[in-house]
Symmetry: C2
Subunit: 341 residues, 2 copies
DNA sequence: CAAGCTGGTGAAAAGGATTTCACCCCCATA
DNA sequence: TATGGGGGTGAAATCCTTTTCACCAGCTTG
């Protein structure tokens, strides 16, 4: 039964050569120019398109790389994806995106697909520090780069931001602006970004203890990195006997939720200071404008892809972790409690 | 040379059966329970993971479906992607996302990948009405569904919104609110959504000609469906001798750009009416709140995936086009020119 | 008791490309 | 005139799984 529309054999027959020669024409083997010419022509006439499965099976390596991200609806990750794509663009590799939805089961399935499809490489922003198992891929020799989030023990190259430092700078800025009761809404326990940004916050508060600042765990909430989580956490803290006068939110979407919750009770920045880790999407429309730790999302993707490509070319350099700088962008939402309160 | 970590042969040998039996165990063939048991165990011990390439090659069909979208940074498409994923979730199929970036070359590459990788199905929001060639996929018998955008002549199932009707309702609303010089910023020529939303706008203006409304092509701009395009188009029209007093923008991102441009010259809705086709992301933060034609992005994805799954199960029903309703959500940005001007 | 199922099994072909290996031809060098 | 070498070529093996086909054993039915 003929199934594939046209195979390398058909082309070979049409051009009067062997399949091996056809293969060489398409893969840069040595072939006399005139023969190559007639193969090209036969292929064009028959509308030959190589079967990538057969090729990958034989070569033990496909020509697509997988990018696994935990939330496709978060502009941070889509921007990161653009960075990866643009880097891959200059090669013949295609990037496919997989959305794990912060769900380790879905993530595991995609990792299995990546392994089973013999993908040429994998870039992963891990859904979990502990449950993300990159072992099989690594054992199989597939290049893997962790981006943004760092899986716990895995022996992989990594590209991330200086989360702890960024968190510390952010919190220090809130203190300097005069806020006293600074809360923190961070992400799920187990995500490295959650933990490290929180650690930066704690470090800054700790350093300010001599000024009478006390760290209080009632002001710390773990949420889910989504809008709803931020909203719920903010509501809870607003209901405290002594609500915070500022909040450091460790991701962009939760910041949106927190702002919503504040608006519900008629409070707006900078009366309550609001500082976001990661730019809020289309922040230009938000009033007052938001102070944020700017996260180089695009560059994270770009750097991860570059690292992956190096490994795919066979670089045997020792494992590296690339840390990209964040930058505090000061705007109106942290102008200080006195100014308008 | 041993390359694949462990193959079906290894499992077969370990379990004392033939490879055929191992295959049957994993694919629901008839095998005596005890044999199946020992195969399972051997597979587990050896850490067997099937080679999906070999499987797909043999079966002439892989178990992933491709979703090709033109702008991964547009929340409309990421929401649509969620719809597709959720629908696919209940099957054993995986969804991979490809970002064509409104670039027909990139899109063509992804279509080639989908064909060459023998993907089980393709859902595509076409970058172009004319240059998107689904022919090879269709010829090969791969189920294809067009979503949101309709490629011109292609014989495929389609799922889309009632773009023209939505555009007409939107424009009528602006007229009724009292705006007289209503502009339209639409997408690239050649995208069906651009054209149809524009057609709706024109129809509404035409219907109102008896009230002294004149349609003027100086008030119609084609941009690129991105923030920058919207900003540039709005700036141009603000520089006209008689700038528009309202604008109907045919997608969410361009609306953001248009709002920016308005803010630059100190004008805000509803003094200038602003109406967006498609919700602006995280609109809750935008003041004044924006009137928008609500686009069922998630449901579009969902419906497209359902249709695709039907075809994959062999449905031979005639080609269908599913049209989903939009809904005008009236908010503050179109309260009328008199109210604040 | 013969004939016919039926369920379970393994050998081998198939799927389409790449790559190794042997070979041939032609030219340059000794 | 031999010998060596190198470029070009095709046959066949290879990648790993699924699936067909033939076969066998054990049962039921006429």
């Amino acid at each position: 039964m003929r199934t594939q529309v046209v195979t390398i054999h058909d082309v070979a027959r049409a051009a009067g050569v062997s399949p091996a020669t056809v293969s060489r024409v398409f893969n840069g083997g040595r072939v006399t120019p005139e023969r190559a010419q007639s193969v090209q022509q036969a292929a064009a006439e028959l509308g030959f398109a190589p079967n990538r499965l057969a090729r990958s099976l034989r070569k033990q390596r496909s020509s697509v790389i997988a990018l696994i991200i935990p939330d496709i609806e978060n502009p941070f990750f889509t921007s990161l994806a653009r960075g990866v794509e643009d880097a891959a663009q200059r090669t013949s590799l295609s990037v496919v995106l997989c959305n794990s939805d912060e769900d380790t089961d879905k993530e595991r399935r995609y990792l299995e697909v990546a392994l089973g499809e013999q993908m040429a490489g994998v870039i992963v922003a891990a859904a979990s520090q502990d449950d993300t198992d990159l072992g099989p891929l690594i054992a199989r020799g597939v290049p893997v780069v962790a981006v943004d989030r760092r899986p716990h023990e895995a022996e992989v190259d990594a590209v991330r931001a200086d989360d702890q430092h960024g968190g510390e700078v952010a919190t220090r800025h809130l203190l300097r602006a005069g806020y006293r009761r600074i809360a923190c809404i961070t992400g799920p326990e187990g995500a490295s970004t959650s933990e490290e940004r929180l650690a930066g916050y704690r470090a800054a508060l700790h350093a300010a203890r001599s000024e009478g600042i006390v760290a209080d765990d009632a002001y710390v909430r773990h949420a889910d990195f989504r809008v709803e989580g931020g909203r719920a956490a903010m509501r809870e803290m607003l209901a405290l006997p002594e609500p915070p006068d500022a909040v450091f939110v460790t991701n962009n979407l939760m910041t949106i939720g927190a702002l919503d919750a504040l608006a519900e009770v008629g409070r707006t920045p900078p009366g309550v200071g609001v500082l976001s880790f990661g730019d809020v999407p289309w922040a230009s429309l938000v009033r007052p404008s938001l102070t944020a730790v700017e996260l180089p999302s695009y560059e994270l993707g770009r750097a991860a892809a570059d690292l992956l490509l190096q490994r795919m070319e066979g670089s045997a350099a020792p494992l590296q972790t690339v840390v990209l700088r964040t930058r505090l962008q000061i705007r109106e939402s942290t102008a200080g409690p006195v100014a308008t309160d």
